[in-house]
């Protein structure tokens, strides 16, 4: 039984109790506790159940590597599953729930899986795929879905905000242990800009817990001084509770800082993602202790020896009253020492090494502890708690020599450097056989923009283990003197991958490698036997090292077992790839500020507010919001659109056209340049006149269209589509900068500078005349002409162009005057029955006139010739962008799909995107199609369905009736007609 000791615990504050709940039960811990230490303090050792067999599990570690103690934390909009209790600070009111245990932690129906474990071997999931389909659908999938899985998904939107922080430094140190502090101090003294991040709330790392003497001071005091020196420096930024999540190209590092996850007050952003550019990265990330593989090593009460020490010394919590220690190295003896000093019992130390005579072993023996050399654990006894161990010879097959009663086991299989940050960008590892670890190979670092290594490791992350080694390595890494400390002699480790060495299948089937995924020694051996020899394949097949902990505890042990089974060396098998993030990162943190209203930029025209107050129903057009229609009270959107179309055709409509691109193209070579960009001739356009033009890419496909106005001898104003403004501006600059850089042309994007208002309908001229200030008569301003002048006292540029077939003017005015002019026009237009109209009315009116729309009639595979726009393609020009592409034979096949109008026989509208059905089926048994609908509307003007579409040989087939698909219904019949449905002679605009 675990419990809180009467004294001790350097991180907790016994004067500040903290109330929390676990599975609904009210419990109490102290400020400074983690959820795991607080649960242990309350005697709550079982904290969850395993993924596959639902075995009861307790905490095995005290840090981020913890595979078992995963919790659901919080409720409602702050609910989060799969949180590691070992790194979750306790706060007042925290509510935690265990996972994977229905109906309760104590009684779990999934436990039956454990009894059936021989039917759930490695690759079980994959093997089910080979069964007949119905078996998967009705047996395996429902079973797996019910039984497996970690925490439940949140059901509410995350209540929290997150933020980024861009930061720059010469040296980024990740990890605030004594190695990181030494490195940061050296970089600071060298005059560098330094950032040091530490994932825990306090700096100092293991040295603060384990103690040592540095520069003649106790480790804790040395750490305090170092932190003070760093905090004092202007050039150093210290960030606690901030984890180095990932290292990316060219010194880019993502670090994740916890801002409110450790406290009850949740105001402000919850996490801050540091996006750091570092000249170099020092990974002082320490090392993780490895478990040992013996039968029953997952029973609650079996813990890493270092974790036992952490709970004792940092939190004043004892994992058990009688702790057996099993080890292959000297470090676990420190745990024995700590237990004894806390007044707890150590019935035995089982050391697999045949003979050891280092100082710490001698010390422990002198304290009267029984140390059994060459021994290991044959098996652990107990179900929900350790009750004892059977002792055997490590060199044997598990024959039991002795039984020892105990309620906890502290194990140490040696230490693995945390090499993740070194490896994320390609740093290579070497196998250090003497230390039994993969450690960074300094000769093969990850390289940066200059081709040199930009990540280094310091301290235990380099493979250094003793305090002296750690300090020396950190100083050498950064350049500087190492703090002084005593050299303590330690006996070498003896690698042990299976305990005992000759364990048979029965024992191997109870030796856990990966606790979280329930992968055992027997599973890895089976995977090897079934041919999954690559470590990456074995990982996927067995799920070893997958899920939230990514095998921080299990990888090395697993690949050693794989190597043994394959009769290869450990470095021959190698490790799986280390990928960021180091621990799971909140999705919200990665999104940063891009949530809710700032998910995307929202672009507003100068008339946006007017439209908002006049009931606009908005539609997104790129990042813009444009009014789709202006519904009146009780009116449907369709009714509103219909009214807007009719009113514009009969009286007067106004449209906010400000979103259209407006590009000024100017210079001695501007005409020549535009002749290259447009398919038709722009250099011959006379000043004062406008011309409709098409732009194609080099494939020949139509990419944009719009009206071009010639302003003066050297100046043109090119209108683009709304979506095309930035794209076409970029397109022009690209050609000018990268291909025709000696041409004298400037392009200035004036889209944001001007508001543009379309005044459309039979009364359009009258309302402009009422405002007054310039001659807007047909004589002074004929169709496709423009003029500068004033309207109602405002300087304007007036284009007489039409996208509706009506008498129409577009007025460009500096953006700051847009809203005022709009209001003046609305007011003046009241006498002429003016109404605003939205984008849907715009679309219908252009379709009634057979005008194409980029993105409707075009989709990146359509050339202008497909749309009957041959008239807008100059035959005189030797070259324009897309001309060569259009010369290809594909575009000259007689059965190209070409633009036509479509009229249903019954007057209904065709479905958007419907296909024209052809004769028979193709080689794949699919219906042959001969065309498709590109635009379809109910025309309020004609009171019938009208559509445009691309149909094979369409223009040659006028009058023919063809059939179109309709989802879930019989096909519709439609007649091929001219795409110009309304006013084919253009009389309405010509007034």
């Amino acid at each position: 039984m675990s419990r809180r000791l009467k004294t001790g615990g350097r991180l907790i504050d016994r004067d500040r109790p903290v109330e929390f709940t676990f599975d609904g039960k009210a419990l109490r811990g102290y400020a400074g506790d983690t959820l795991a230490s607080a649960l242990l303090a309350n005697g709550q050792r079982v904290m969850g159940r395993s993924f596959k067999y639902h075995r009861p599990r307790s905490v095995v570690a005290a840090g981020p590597e913890e595979p078992n103690a995963l919790m659901e934390i919080g409720t409602g909009a702050r609910f989060e599953p799969n949180q590691r209790a070992t790194v979750q600070p306790l706060w007042e009111g925290l509510s935690a729930r265990s996972q994977n245990a229905w109906p309760s932690l104590a009684f779990d129906v999934g436990r039956v899986n454990d009894l059936a474990s021989r039917f759930l071997p490695a690759g079980f999931y994959y093997k089910t795929f080979m069964a007949p389909r119905p078996a998967w659908k009705h047996v395996f999938e429902p079973f797996i879905r019910k039984a497996a899985g970690l925490g439940s998904a949140p059901t509410e939107a995350d209540a929290d905000r997150y933020e980024f922080k861009y930061a720059f430094c010469d040296t980024l140190v990740v990890g605030g242990g004594i190695a990181g502090l030494t490195a940061a101090l050296a970089a600071m003294r060298a005059g560098e800009r330094v950032i040091l991040v530490e994932s825990r709330a306090t700096l100092g790392g293991r040295a603060a817990t384990d103690g040592a003497e540095i520069d003649g001071k106790a480790a804790e005091d040395w750490i305090k001084n170092a932190v003070e020196a760093l905090e004092k420096s202007e050039s150093v930024t210290l960030v606690a509770r901030c984890e180095g999540s990932g290292v990316y190209d060219h010194g880019y590092v993502i670090c994740t800082e916890d801002l409110t996850g450790f406290k009850a007050d949740k105001s402000g952003p919850r996490e801050r993602v540091w996006r750091i550019r570092a000249g170099r990265v020092i990974a002082a990330t320490g090392a993780i202790e490895r478990p040992l593989s013996f039968a029953g090593n997952d029973i609650p009460g079996v813990m890493l020896a270092s974790a036992v020490r952490d709970y004792l010394l940092d939190y004043g919590v004892s994992p058990g009253e009688r702790t057996v220690i099993v080890t292959n190295n000297d470090d676990a003896y420190r745990t024995a020492k700590a237990l004894l000093e806390a007044g707890l019992r150590v019935p035995a130390i089982l050391d697999v090494r045949p003979e050891v005579n280092s100082p710490i072993v001698r010390d422990i023996k002198d304290l009267g502890v029984k140390v059994h050399m060459g021994r290991g654990i044959a098996r652990v006894h107990g179900n929900d708690a350790v009750t004892g161990v059977s002792v055997c010879l490590q060199a044997g097959d598990g024959a039991v020599m002795q039984e020892i009663r105990c309620d906890a086991v502290a194990m140490s299989g040696g230490w693995s450097p945390v090499v993740h940050l070194w490896s994320h960008c390609g740093g290579k590892l070497l196998w250090d056989a003497e230390r039994a670890m993969f450690r960074p190979d300094p000769a093969r670092p990850p390289t940066g923009a200059d081709g040199e290594g930009f990540v280094k490791t310091a301290g235990a992350a380099s493979g250094a283990l003793t305090t002296a080694e750690v300090l020396a390595d950190a100083a050498e890494t950064v350049g500087g003197d190492a703090p002084s400390t005593a050299v303590v002699e330690e006996a070498p480790i003896r690698p042990v991958w299976v305990m005992p060495e000759g364990a048979g299948p029965k024992l191997r089937a109870k030796m856990w490698l990966d606790y979280q995924n329930d992968v055992k020694v027997s599973d890895v051996r089976l995977a090897a036997q079934e041919g999954f020899e690559s470590v990456e394949h074995a990982k996927r097949y067995t799920t070893l090292g997958m899920a939230t902990d990514q095998g921080k505890l299990s990888n090395i042990n697993g690949l050693a077992v794989l190597a043994d089974r394959l009769d290869r060396t450990i470095p021959e098998v190698g490790t799986t790839t280390f990928r960021p993030p180091y621990t799971p990162t909140t999705i919200g943190a990665l999104a940063g500020e891009a949530r809710g209203e700032t998910f995307q930029p929202l672009r507003r025209t100068p008339m946006h507010d007017w439209a908002e107050t006049h009931g606009a129903y908005w539609e997104p057009v790129g990042h813009w919001r444009r009014a789709y229609c202006f519904p009146r009270a009780g009116e449907s959107h369709a009714d509103a659109v219909s009214r807007e179309v009719k009113n514009t055709r009969e009286h007067l409509g106004m449209l906010d056209a400000s979103t259209l691109g407006k590009l000024l193209v100017r210079g001695p070579d501007a005409g020549r340049f535009l002749d290259m960009l447009y398919t038709n001739m722009m250099s011959t356009l006379k000043p004062g006149r406008c011309r409709y033009g098409l732009m194609c890419d080099e494939n020949g496909f139509l990419i944009d269209d719009g009206v071009v106005a010639r302003i003066d001898e050297q100046t043109w104003l090119c209108h683009t589509t709304t979506g095309g403004a930035d794209r076409i501006h970029g397109w022009m600059e690209d050609w000018l900068q990268c291909e025709w850089w000696d041409w004298k042309v400037h392009v200035v994007n004036l889209t944001e500078q001007f508001a543009q208002i379309a005044v459309v309908g039979p009364n359009a001229r009258r309302v402009l005349e009422k405002l007054g200030g310039m001659d807007v008569s047909a004589e002074a301003l004929p169709f496709m002409a423009w003029a500068d002048g004033t309207l109602g006292g405002v300087d304007v540029r007036l284009y007489r162009i039409s996208f509706s077939g009506e008498l129409s003017y577009e007025i460009a005015v500096p953006a700051s005057r847009g809203a005022a002019l709009w209001s003046a026009l609305m007011e003046a237009g009241a006498d002429f029955d003016v109404m605003p109209y939205g984008t849907e009315a715009l679309h219908i009116m252009r379709a009634e006139k057979g005008f194409i729309m980029i993105g409707d009639e075009t989709d990146g595979t359509v050339v202008p010739q497909d749309l009957g726009l041959d008239w807008a393609i100059s035959k005189k020009k030797d070259d324009y962008l897309g001309k060569r592409g259009q010369m290809r034979s594909e575009f000259h096949k007689p059965d190209r799909w070409k633009l036509v109008g479509l009229e249903t026989l019954d007057g209904t509208a065709l479905e958007d995107g419907a296909y024209a059905i052809g004769e028979g089926t193709n080689a794949n048994g699919q219906t042959v199609v001969q065309g498709r609908v590109t635009s379809t509307y109910h025309s309020p003007t004609l009171d019938r369905g009208i559509a445009m579409g691309l149909v094979a040989r369409g223009p040659e087939r006028m009058g023919e009736v063809i059939r179109f698909t309709r989802i879930g219904q019989e096909p519709q019949e439609a007649r091929i007609v001219s795409p110009v449905f309304f006013d084919p002679e253009g009389e309405k605009a010509n007034v």
């Binding site: 905000r161 672009r603 813009w624 944001e752």
Partner: protein, 165 residues
Amino acid sequence: MSDISIEALPPVGMIALRGEMGSLGRAVEAVTDCAPPEQRMSTRSGDVTVMWMAPDEMLIVCDHGAAGALAQKLTAQLSDVFATVVEVSDARQVFDLTGADVEALLSKLMPVDFDRLGATEVRRTRMAQVPAALWRHSGGYHVMCFRSVAGYAMRLMEDARPVGG
């Protein structure tokens, strides 16, 4: 709480200049008395600031009412070379940020190394997802973005105010 003030300024005069930098510099000096700015920097004389925007582009920032006349003078001054002068006073929104540690706010939104930002530098960059520019003034920073995204930019900066000092 943060004492940073974020103010959307009323429209200021702006003139875009394109052309060969030598010619632009001479014309600007003659008309505004501002020295030609060095790469990425700005110069100032009276109410007029001249900003280096690109190797063939400057931006003049002045009083909103003065832009038209200034643009005409520059056009005349540059009439015999290949250059473009366009008034763009309504295309952008300028914000004024003052108070303690404005950089802490802006560094949440812009990938800018403020330690390396020159005193007169005009840093063109992005603010979250939109193009933006910023430069120092005696009490803080000016931030500039396009007019249509001014609301988005304001909301970003409001949300990024440092919490708890």
